[in-house]
Assembly symmetry: C2
Homo-oligomer: 299 residues x 2
């Protein structure tokens, strides 16, 4: 029942083909935690800076997110990312990026966090992910995410991390980069030889592919007509999936497949607005309803 998340808590400036938002709330741990909070309480580990408004802490805490592990740095600023999406909202380029010490972040888990049962290591320097995991005393299920920058610059740490996790979340271009294999099934199967017993390849609007030793299971995405801002969809997927699983006594294959469906639905709400606004409007019941409609239409 205890779910730990480490990752970025950030400010994002987002440009889409039709709109722009400046310094809105973002970050992998943020999206993950808000999404997971639909189902369970979350213990958040991360770092923000002197520009962090107390109101945001209040917001997260109001969702049952425990911020004992959120370091507020006294003189650095909060992690910042400025991105611009392409016309089709499928790709994005980074226009500016201020890590503000996050790569040096030395996560210290509050004592009460160390016994967390499930652990999400959001996309961050693998060193930060490894340091966090090392402080967990009895993790049941460890899921890590990564992004291209870490595959490029810290591949060795990443390979070490792979041996210590149960499930890797990775997107299609990144799994190709990491494995050197273009075919996604082939790339995913290669990853299964590197440590994790499960791999989930995220394909954005095309859904995802789950792989374990026994099977390869493709999932379509929820068909969204109104995509506003894809930022955070992957972390919302992870949050929905792990938030649901946190309440399940056994992590079995069928439970995980169900959890992936739930993550898919939760992510679909994130896409429909900027920042966490789509998620905030949603109740557990809305998720159930959309999931029901989606499952009903599936043959």
């Amino acid at each position: 029942m205890t779910l730990l998340a480490v990752g970025t808590v950030a400010f994002d400036t987002i440009e889409t083909p039709t709109s722009r938002r400046d310094r809105i709330l973002g970050g992998s741990a943020t999206f993950f935690s808000i999404a997971a909070s639909l189902f369970t309480n979350v213990r958040l580990v991360g770092m923000v800076g002197k520009d962090w408004p107390v109101a945001y802490s209040d917001l997260l805490e109001s969702r049952g997110i425990d911020l004992q592990g959120l370091l507020v740095h006294p003189f650095l600023d909060t992690y910042f990312w400025h991105g611009r999406y392409t016309q089709d909202l499928q790709d994005r380029e980074t226009l500016a990026f201020e890590m503000n010490g996050f790569d040096q972040f030395d996560p210290v888990l509050p004592d009460g966090f160390r016994d967390s049962r499930d652990v999400f290591l959001g996309a961050a320097c693998p060193a930060v992910q490894l340091k966090t995991l090392a402080q967990c005393t009895k993790p049941r299920w460890v899921v890590a995410d990564t992004v291209d920058a870490w595959i490029e610059t810290t591949r060795n740490d990443l390979q070490t991390l792979l041996k210590q996790i149960d499930c890797l979340l990775i997107n299609d271009s990144e799994v190709r980069q990491l494995s050197g294999i273009h075919n996604l099934v082939g790339a995913g199967k290669w990853l299964l030889t590197q440590g994790p017993s499960m791999v989930i390849i995220k394909k954005g609007e095309h859904g995802s592919i789950f792989l374990d030793k026994q099977s390869v299971v493709p999932f379509p995405a929820f068909p969204c007509e109104n995509v506003v801002d894809p930022t955070g969809a992957g972390d919302s997927f992870a949050g929905g999936m792990m938030g649901y699983l946190a309440n399940q006594e056994n992590i079995e294959r069928n439970t995980i497949l169900r959890a992936i469906q739930i993550g898919t639905i939760v992510a679909s709400f994130t896409l429909e607005d900027f920042s966490i606004d789509g998620l905030l409007r949603v109740s557990n019941l809305d998720v159930e309803q959309r999931l029901h409609d989606f499952s009903r239409t599936l043959p």
Copy 2:
């Protein structure tokens, strides 16, 4: 129980990143008919030229494909396409193209073909598609495919065609081109206002989306590890779908959704070899088996 297909019967020269095949059997009506012949007899309407080997006619006829509607032109050559796939097998460019009179093809349906119950209008000049359809006396279900070239050059004819069909098959980039709408759900819904009561958007390795007035249903593709040549996968999908449906008394939504799953599986065999070779190796039982495995892994 009667299924008519009109489209190209062609020779293809195919270059993939690792291989090349010269003047192998291809064409929309070919792939469609071979795929559909797993389930039903097919009446083929098309045109080939003086270079057409009798052995190919024998092959098609051995699959229960009725070639009374196949015109063998006495002095033109057979439709020819030479394409090269990109490294990832997702895109292709046309290196050479010889229509050899196919755009002037004046299809004449043999008397025995006119009462065909289901009709597939493979990607061809809309004029040829319209002329074929006009000779059908009592079609139950008419499905048409199209490609970018016809959207560009014969949009008016295509709009006329849309008003006379039940279902349009179209790929993702083409539905965007035709509708001017980037979002696939939006583009598909627009198409539903133009005539057809159903639209199937083909997304290649990412599966497909079915739309009708009531719903939007996404389908993942079968996750193929060994993709050799994608040529003909879309037509094999259509053939598997319509071949299965030809045996069904009622064309209901659930039957169509089931048929789409079957088409998905049939297409996955086409990808695994050049030309129709992957399809020829497959029995009805192999399709059932892969469908069963695929459905079983789906949550």
